[in-house]
Amino acid sequence: MNRFAALLDRLAYEPRRNGKIRLIAAYFRHTPDPERGWALAALTGALSFRNAKPGLIRQLIGERTDPVLFALSYDYVGDLSETVALMWPAPHGLNDTEPPSLEAIVHAFTHMGRAEMPAVLTSLLDRLDETGRWALLKLITGGLRIGVSARLAKTAVAALGDHAPDAVELVWPGLAPPYQELFAWAEGRGPKPETEDPAPFRPVMLSHPLEEADVEKLDPAAFRAEWKWDGIRVQAARAAGPDGRHVTRLYSRTGEDISGAFPDLAEALAFDGVVDGELLILREGRVQSFNVLQQRLNRKTVSAKLMLDYPAHIRAYDVLVAAGEDLREQPFAARRARLEALISAHPAEGRLDLSPLVPFPSWDALAQARADPAAHGAGEDAEAVEGVMLKRADSPYLPGRPKGPWWKWKRDPHSVDAVLMYAQRGHGKRSSYYSDYTFGVWTGETSGTGELVPVGKAYFGFTDAELIEIDRFVRRHTVNRFGPVREVVHTPTEGLVVEVAFEGLARSTRHRSGLAMRFPRIARLRWDKPPLEADRLETLEKMIGGEDESHAPRRPTAVLGKQRSPAEEM
């Protein structure tokens, strides 16, 4: 366990994807079975055992330490698990014994009763080092947040040999911890594991963004176009198991099984095959905005009321398997025909429909449709259209993001002029640059009046040359420092105006402005504009007006994809 804990500790600080993969792969290479298999289970979220409550941990530390010293320490460290891990008084003499393995820990926590928890936990804490105690406490309180996705851990398994990450993904659904047959296969020592899951995840095909410059080179006749829906990508797999009963699973685009969050949808599906599409909320036949869909995301279970108020739906655009036949090698046009047949045969109580093709004679015509979906067939659903998808009629279904067969051509994003307020240093290659920016707009009746309130944070969109310019500006115009964050000058006459592009707005109780932006990025630097000409909060309020909801999205962080910054906490 101490070794796995050291890995978790290092991963928690490593910002680079490739760095994480190398760290995990090195751990797998140097750790024997079955220990590494339990580690893989922990990293992919496949472990489930009785969680310990913070109250128990407080009680255990309270029995062993001076209350004044504990209070001073907790106040200083600020995190309960970390404080306890660091100040736990390990009894002398136990340091020489072999520390418990991760396997032993998983075994203990899976099989014990609640009454045994204090004694088992104490004995483990006595035998681990500081990092080991920290990792154990994080693991059993369910707070293991180290920025490693299941996909990343599987990629590290693939890196042990010469299999592609997608190949690991394909065999994964039939496997269980401690994954000995998977490691044997990955290292070239054993046969490919047979998947026993009748409805496994198939790696999805992704598209590249289309630049205006690319368009000229493409032949419109070779492509088919569809609306790009603003929902979440979903793969619905349904097949009969060995006992003849059908298994239905819904997967996210990374292969996470999300069936539990959408039982209403899973139960309604009646086809036999694998369908690729967009998960949307439909009310009275009309597609709702992403803000509405958010109410059903990031939930492990779901109430009957939520299912009734937010009925989930799949708008399908591809079929990978139909009636046991793998169609992925077939061209898009042929798959499309099979998809149309499959949906008309299995309408699934109206929860499955076809994403229509958008006919277009020329790129100009498609550009018009993209600019105004309502007038080009999307009708009342136009607000949920974020652009068009282009797919080559002759393209097979390929895992990953091959360049050429699929393109996404998004609608022009919204934009506002905002004033740079805070800047934070980046990570990795950017660790010497101020590259994360918090920007704000005016609260007053007119621009330049009232105060600036933060409305978002962006850390991309600018060129390398622009990054150097902004970094220089930040260093020369710092008015305050908070750890790695700098407050930069932002008065009506002094400051940097940035044009921020974003995909949408949602209400948020987390930000002082009451708003959160989706995918904000720096579109342009407006050195020409004084801050008093930046936009007002009211402008943003008007943008949100049409799609207002009675309550704020449950998790704006999931939309912004960023942790709250110290600047926002002030």
Binding site: R10, A12, Y13, E14, P15, G19, R22, L23, A26, T65, D66, V68, L69, L72, S73, Y76, V77, G78, D79, E82, T83, L86, M87, D129, E130, R425, H427, G428, K429, S431, S432, R475, R481, G483, P484
Partner: protein
């Protein structure tokens, strides 16, 4: 007599009315006794300075030969009378030349320990406990969450990372005096034989350590290193340089920081550190207790750091204990400083941006 007649606090630092001298004063005074060369303890501009030979040398390197009116070198263990007060310097184990200063006068002994660490360090004489009536201790890591791990285990983390990422330079933030040289010595002890690249701020002090017989292996100025030499090299720089434009000459580095503060995750993360190395030149919680008990003192005065916790512990041990509420220490250099707070805007050295 009361111990305060021998030594008490003033706005300039600890002052001895009996001997008319200050210990580690924060402002220029007529007569100063200096425990060690870190700039929050050793300042320029005093009339007369009494310190170990090595501390005097370090002050001369940092401030120039004319850093004080007159200087006098104190040998470890030798008794020197200053206006009737007996003064002895004893090893503190903190950095090269560091000392505890023991005062005796009319049967009362007070030890001002400066910054100290009892743990092993190949670059400093080991800490020697001194029997006394009053012991004056720092409390930089005076909380039970601070138990420093074995230095060799921390260096092993750096060696593992070098093996895993052999194409990336490993930038290690370390204080230019003491910590940097200790990291070099530990690396050599762990079998690392490649040249260590140095930021300009470390070159003179590292050269001085060599003249004192401390083997630090091959070191080279980082600014002269070719891209091949930089790949997979250990590069030592002051903590502030990690976030400075200086670091841009290294493509995709691993950012490490050698400090006792790295024990606290939020602290490491706040500074953008990717490889925290818990290496401290101050006593940890257990070491503070052992050191204080070893003096047999009746009274404990706590200078700077986490005074409340240490005073609480000492009181429960039956000692008379109180914080001195001294300001100005742990702010210039040494580990008491929050690493980022002292990050300079421009490199404090002749180094230039690429």
């Amino acid at each position: 007599m009361r111990p305060e007649e021998l030594l008490h606090t003033t706005p300039q630092g600890l002052y001895s009315p009996a001997g008319d001298f200050f210990i580690d004063p924060t402002r220029p005074v007529a007569r100063a006794l200096i425990t060690h060369g870190h700039s929050d303890h050793a300042r320029a501009g005093h009339g007369a300075v009494l310190a170990t030979r090595q501390t005097l040398d370090i002050m001369a390197i940092r401030y120039g030969e004319a850093f004080a009116g007159t200087v006098q070198a104190a040998d470890y263990g030798a008794r020197i009378e200053v206006n009737g007060v007996g003064v002895r310097f004893h090893p503190a184990g903190h950095i090269l030349g560091s000392a505890q200063i023991a005062l005796d006068w009319r049967g009362c002994t007070i030890v001002a320990s400066g910054d100290y660490k009892p743990g092993a360090d190949p670059t400093a004489l080991p800490f020697a406990p001194v029997r006394c009536h009053v012991f004056i201790s720092e409390a930089t890591f005076g909380l039970p969450v601070f138990r420093h791990p074995a230095p060799a285990a921390e260096i092993a983390k750096l060696m593992d990372s070098l093996a895993l990422f052999p194409e990336r330079a490993h930038l290690v933030g370390a204080y230019a005096l003491g910590k940097a040289q200790r990291v070099m010595a530990l690396l050599r002890a762990a079998g690392h034989e490649r040249p260590v690249l140095l930021h300009g701020a470390m070159e003179k002090l590292t050269a001085y350590y060599r003249t004192q017989g401390i083997d630090l292996g091959d070191t080279r100025p980082a600014r002269d290193a070719s891209p091949t030499e930089r790949a997979g090299a250990v590069v030592l720089c002051p903590p502030g340089a990690l976030a400075d434009v200086w670091s841009r000459r290294f493509p995709d580095p691993v950012t490490a920081f050698a400090s006792g503060w790295m024990r606290i995750r939020a602290r490491a993360r706040q500074n953008g550190v990717e490889l925290p190395l818990i290496l401290s030149d101050h006593a940890d919680w257990d070491e503070l207790q052992v050191a204080i008990r070893a003096t047999g003192c009746e009274e404990l005065w706590v200078t700077h750091g986490q005074e409340d916790a240490l005073v609480h512990w000492a009181t429960q041990e039956g000692l008379r204990a109180r914080p001195l509420h001294m300001v100005g220490y742990g702010e210039e250099e040494g580990e008491s400083a929050a690493p980022d707070a002292s990050a300079p805007e421009a490199p404090p050295t002749p180094e230039v941006a690429p």
